[in-house]
């Protein structure tokens, strides 16, 4: 039975599942096409991280991987943790997706649940100022943030950051702070005026982590395994919502299919061309209304290939990503204090550094070191590793990492297009070009200086030589190739995220963002997907 009246959605990431769930709740039928790579179940779900090391048959392969791929040896880049082997399915490529890039390190996911199966759960709503170039504002998006929070469970507090992070409905109380984060926050409260005077605010992170049982999932039990995969699903991932969708009879989920392009006729998408992963010939799925939620890069490639099939070979300008900077620090007040391995592992505090405008503002996440592998850190110390290991143990309780996100704007020089090459028509590779704005070096130095100053006022020291400027692409906050505009031409979308190139095509992932404020975008992706589903398909 072919169900051509269905809405066909490509992708099961956060954008896709919240779009689909909204339609399903409204009683509509949805077909979802997905590559849908799956991981294996997490072992010993009740064990804390240290217990895992004792109780697993082969902890080395669990933590480092059979090919030792998660061991970060000197010379393998400046990261502080390797992706855990148990999440490797999240980044497993798809055979028909190829990309070549300049100035950009692209990361894509073809997993059930998308990239956010490996995310760190930061959920930050945009405020009206940040949405200035969006064709809507808080009035439209605020309730949708609340709706997403109702579905996934977001915890946080009303504190100094709330001026930048507007309050929405269904906010759970924050998860219990670890000792180091608690002291940092207390220091901030003591020295609030001195910090506010340099434009720095500190407060609780907004996290997709349950502090209360919710919708059949249990509150975070502080197992300290977040990086290796939360076994209790207290840390939300989109596969939770996908499972909800799968309970609905009106939902058709088609994993194991890679969408390659769609066939156009008279400015309409007629059919989606898909390739079964298991092998065999390509198939066509007839479409009435097509919704792309394959992530900015993959959705852009699908559109580019499809247009090229009609002889329209073009580029899409405006690719954005948040530049990230890692600033490791030592909190002198924490030296010599105990720490507990049984605590939440990712960031629990946020730091905002005001700028004159939203595009100059910086949003940071502060992760204190609770449980983590030591070798990525110890190798950076200027001592022999025997000494470095012991020094790390001495300072462990005092270590933290500030991860700064910088805003980005659409620029004509940052583009995606089809790569010139020998590929057969219809499976061309994506070519990505990214050029940082003029004056990037000076901007980064200025931000790092401000962050150092703020940390100093918090009683923390930033050891010289350890700040790491991540390459573009590393934050995986991709956006901007098909921006929503009130009126615009080809290569744009309507305020309802409908393509201006293809009549029955909508895009509900990051590709439609007209700007990228200095905040992790996924919460907004989900809220916007709800909005489009309600307004355009309601």
């Amino acid at each position: 039975m072919s169900r051509s009246h269905d809405v066909v959605v490509v992708g099961s990431g956060p954008s896709g599942v919240h779009f689909a769930w909204t339609l399903l709740e409204a009683g509509r039928a949805v077909t979802m096409v997905d590559v849908g790579r799956r991981g294996s179940p997490l072992p010993l779900p009740e064990a804390s991280l240290p217990r895992l090391k004792e109780e697993l048959d082969d902890p080395v392969s669990y933590f480092l991987g059979d090919a030792f791929e998660a061991a970060l040896l000197p010379g393998s880049g400046g990261e502080y943790y390797g992706f855990p082997p148990g999440k490797s399915h999240v980044f497993e490529p798809a055979p028909g997706f190829g990309v070549e890039s300049r100035g950009f390190a692209p990361l894509t996911s073809f997993a059930r649940g998308g990239l956010a199966e490996a995310w760190t759960g930061g959920c930050y709503p945009l405020n009206d100022r940040e949405m200035a170039s969006f064709p809507f504002g808080w009035a439209e998006l605020g309730p949708r943030y609340g709706e997403v929070a109702r579905r996934i469970g977001v915890s946080g507090a009303e504190d100094d950051l709330a001026e930048l992070l507007p309050l929405h409905e269904h906010l759970q109380p924050p998860v219990a702070l670890d000792d180091h984060s608690r002291r940092l926050l207390a220091t901030y409260e003591d020295r609030r005026s001195r910090l506010r005077s340099i434009g720095c605010r500190v407060g609780r992170s907004r996290l997709a982590v349950l502090s209360r049982d919710h919708d059949g999932r249990v509150a975070c039990a502080r197992l300290g395994r977040c990086l290796w995969g939360c076994p209790s699903r207290s840390l939300y991932t989109p596969s939770v919502t996908l499972e909800r969708c799968l309970e609905r009879p009106e939902f058709r989920y088609l994993p194991g299919l890679e969408a390659l392009s769609f066939r156009l006729s008279g400015g309409r998408a007629e059919a989606l061309r898909v390739r079964p992963l298991a092998g065999g010939a390509d198939e066509e799925i007839p479409v009435d209304r097509l919704v792309l939620a394959a992530g900015t890069l993959s959705s852009s490639l699908l559109l580019l290939r499809s247009l090229a099939g009609e002889g329209d070979r073009r580029q899409l300008a405006g690719l954005m990503d948040n530049r990230q900077i890692f600033v490791p620090f030592v909190n002198l007040r924490q030296l010599g204090r105990p720490w507990s391995a049984e605590s939440y592992q990712y960031h629990q505090l946020g730091m905002a550094l005001d700028g004159g405008s939203p595009s100059e503002a910086v949003h940071g996440q502060i992760t204190t070191l609770t449980t983590a592998l030591v070798h990525p850190f110890a190798q950076r110390l200027p001592f022999d590793l025997g000494t470095a290991v012991r020094v790390t143990a001495n300072v462990h309780a005092a270590l933290g990492l500030l991860n700064l996100n910088l805003a980005d704007e659409r620029r004509d020089t940052c583009r995606v297009g089809l790569a010139d090459g020998t590929e057969a028509a219809g499976v061309e590779r994506l070519a990505v070009r990214y050029e940082p704005p003029v004056g990037e070096g000076a901007r980064l130095r200025w931000v790092v200086r401000r962050a150092r100053r703020a940390l100093r006022r918090l009683g923390c020291w930033v050891p010289p030589g350890m700040v790491h400027i991540r390459p573009m692409g590393a934050s995986v906050h991709y956006a901007g190739t098909l921006p929503m505009t009130v009126d615009g031409g080809p290569g744009t979308t309507t305020p309802g995220c409908r393509s201006r190139d293809v009549e029955n095509l909508w895009l509900v992932d990051g590709s439609v963002f007209p700007a990228l404020p200095a905040k992790n975008l996924t919460f907004t992706l989900m809220a916007n997907a709800v909005r489009v589903a309600e307004e355009e398909f309601g």
């Binding site: 039975m1 072919s2 991981g39 294996s40 240290p50 090391k53 004792e54 902890p59 080395v60 933590f63 480092l64 991987g65 090919a67 030792f68 791929e69 061991a71 970060l72 040896l73 000197p74 010379g75 148990g86 490797s88 399915h89 980044f91 497993e92 055979p95 058709r252 088609l254 299919l257 079964p276 992963l277 298991a278 092998g279 065999g280 198939e283 007040r333 030296l335 010599g336 204090r337 105990p338 720490w339 391995a341 592998l373 030591v374 070798h375 110890a378 190798q379 200027p382 001592f383 022999d384 590793l385 025997g386 000494t387 290991v389 020094v391 143990a393 001495n394 300072v395 462990h396 309780a397």
Partner: protein
């Protein structure tokens, strides 16, 4: 470049062929029934998942959602393919019917599909076991022999490759022999007189890829083995030595009653470490026929104890692992103050097989690593110097690797990632002391390694900076 259709790509040998193909930049279409889901994929690989013998009919595409008839799984499998390397097989303790179905019938189907798709080059991986004089009680060997026949008659540009026993990390043969060798009394089935000539899996993988591209092998049969021959008895004893640290008692068991007993066990569903069918390999020689044999790689046999009478071929492999063990011992004392223990050492050795950049490639790096093997103190001195002036040198990579393994291992992780709460003053004092004790190390380290490093840089030929492990 033409793709290689590799069947059995998820198996023990197949995985290594995949890795080698990625290194060589050969694009691969990989076939097996259950493609691996985890693991970082390397190179250009397209996975196909279906049964080569194909009578477990695949699910209808899209779960029957679209009105397309079930597809022939072979359609599209040969897209862009220039050659087939056929490894997929029922191996080990599979029932006789499955050996026949997969190895014989599966090979026939693959041959037909290749012919239909116009792909001519076909390399079939058989086994040395097809030469055992009596294949009646050996369904695996029988099925492979029949498959060889089908390959020879196919009219394609074929080559048959017969490996000897394949050894290496994850080897099914080594695993089952180890189960025998680990028993309290070593059972020598039929006296275990068979002579073996095992081949290292990586050397085999490379050879298989070589053969695909060697037109002179078309229409021929090649046997592939390693440089050393040992009897099954000797092999079992060496495995036992490695597992239990001593040789211990052995028991010679006559073959006849055993075959019977194992047959009964299998019937009632018990999985013994060897099946009745596999018993032949304890008595029949599995060594190369010199006429058609190729010796490749280093010997994968575990070393015998006492190195006096070690044949030259093996000495190198044995020495290398001994050196790595010594190194792990010394570095572990530096990192956690105690010896590493066998599981950690085993992972350390395994990592040296997999990760690049762990072989010293200059005079300086050899001096570093040599110092580290001597004793924990020189190890720290060498590392103290490297921490400042050679952060990516081999010794640092090795030490960080061992640290990563130790901190992921039961027991050891506690001495690395433990709360060390001694108050602020106590901590500052401890840090001060560590700094003081690190200074003389650094001074001596500099005194030794500055000249060595300089000399090494002056002498360095323009070779690659970092060797890649074999």
């Amino acid at each position: 470049m033409d793709r290689l259709l590799l069947t059995g790509a998820s198996g023990f040998v197949g995985r290594r062929v995949l890795a080698e193909a990625a290194r060589r930049g050969v694009p691969v279409t990989a076939l097996c029934r259950r493609p691996p889901s985890g693991g970082r994929p390397v190179g250009d690989v397209r996975w196909l998942a279906f049964d080569v013998a194909g009578d477990v009919s695949g699910e209808a595409p899209l779960g029957g959602l679209l009105e397309a008839p079930p597809e022939d799984p072979w359609v599209g499998a040969f897209d862009g393919v220039g050659a087939v390397l056929h490894l997929a097989a029922a191996t080990g303790a599979a029932p006789a019917s499955e050996h026949r179905r997969v190895n014989e019938e599966g090979t026939r189907r693959l041959l037909r599909a290749a012919a239909r798709a116009g792909v001519e080059r076909f390399v079939f991986v058989s086994t040395i076991g097809v030469r055992f004089p009596d294949l009646r009680g050996y369904p695996y060997g029988r099925s492979k022999a029949a498959a060889e026949g089908a390959v020879r008659e196919s009219g394609l540009r074929w080559t048959v490759v017969r490996p000897t026993a394949v050894f290496g990390d994850g080897s099914p043969i080594v695993a089952s022999l180890s189960r025998l060798a680990g028993l309290p009394v070593l059972p020598l089935l039929g006296g275990a007189p068979a002579r073996l000539q095992p081949v290292a899996v990586d050397a085999l993988a490379a050879t298989l890829l070589d053969v695909v591209g060697q037109p002179e092998t078309v229409g021929g049969t090649i046997e592939v083995g390693g440089p050393e021959i040992a009897t099954m008895e000797e092999l079992l004893r060496r495995l036992r030595q490695r597992l239990r640290g001593r040789r211990g008692p052995a028991l010679r068991l006559p073959l006849g009653p055993l075959t019977l007993a194992l047959g009964v066990l299998e019937r009632v569903g018990v999985r013994p470490p060897v099946t009745a069918g596999q018993l032949v390999s304890f008595v029949e020689d599995g060594v190369l026929d010199p006429e058609i044999g190729r010796v490749v790689g280093e010997t994968p046999l575990p070393p015998a104890d006492g190195s006096a009478d070690v044949p030259a071929g093996r000495a190198r492999g044995g020495d290398r692992s001994r050196r790595l063990r010594r190194e792990a011992g010394s570095l572990s004392r530096v990192l956690v103050g105690s010896p590493p223990g066998e599981p950690v050492v085993a992972r350390y050795l395994a990592a040296h097989e997999r990760l690049p950049g762990l072989m010293p490639s200059s005079l300086f790096e050899r001096a570093q690593v040599g110092a580290a093997r001597l004793h924990p103190w020189p190890a720290r001195m060498a590392d103290a110097y490297a921490a400042l002036l050679a952060r990516e040198s081999v010794l640092r990579r090795k030490t960080v690797l061992l640290l990563a393994i130790l901190e992921s291992s039961a027991g050891h992780h506690r001495s690395i990632d433990r709360p060390d709460a001694r108050g602020r003053l106590g901590t500052v004092a401890a840090l001060g002391l560590r700094g003081l004790s690190a200074l003389p190390l650094l001074a001596v380290g500099f005194a030794i390694f500055v000249p060595v490093h300089l000399l090494s840089t002056l002498l360095s030929v323009s070779g690659p900076r970092r060797g890649v492990d074999p």
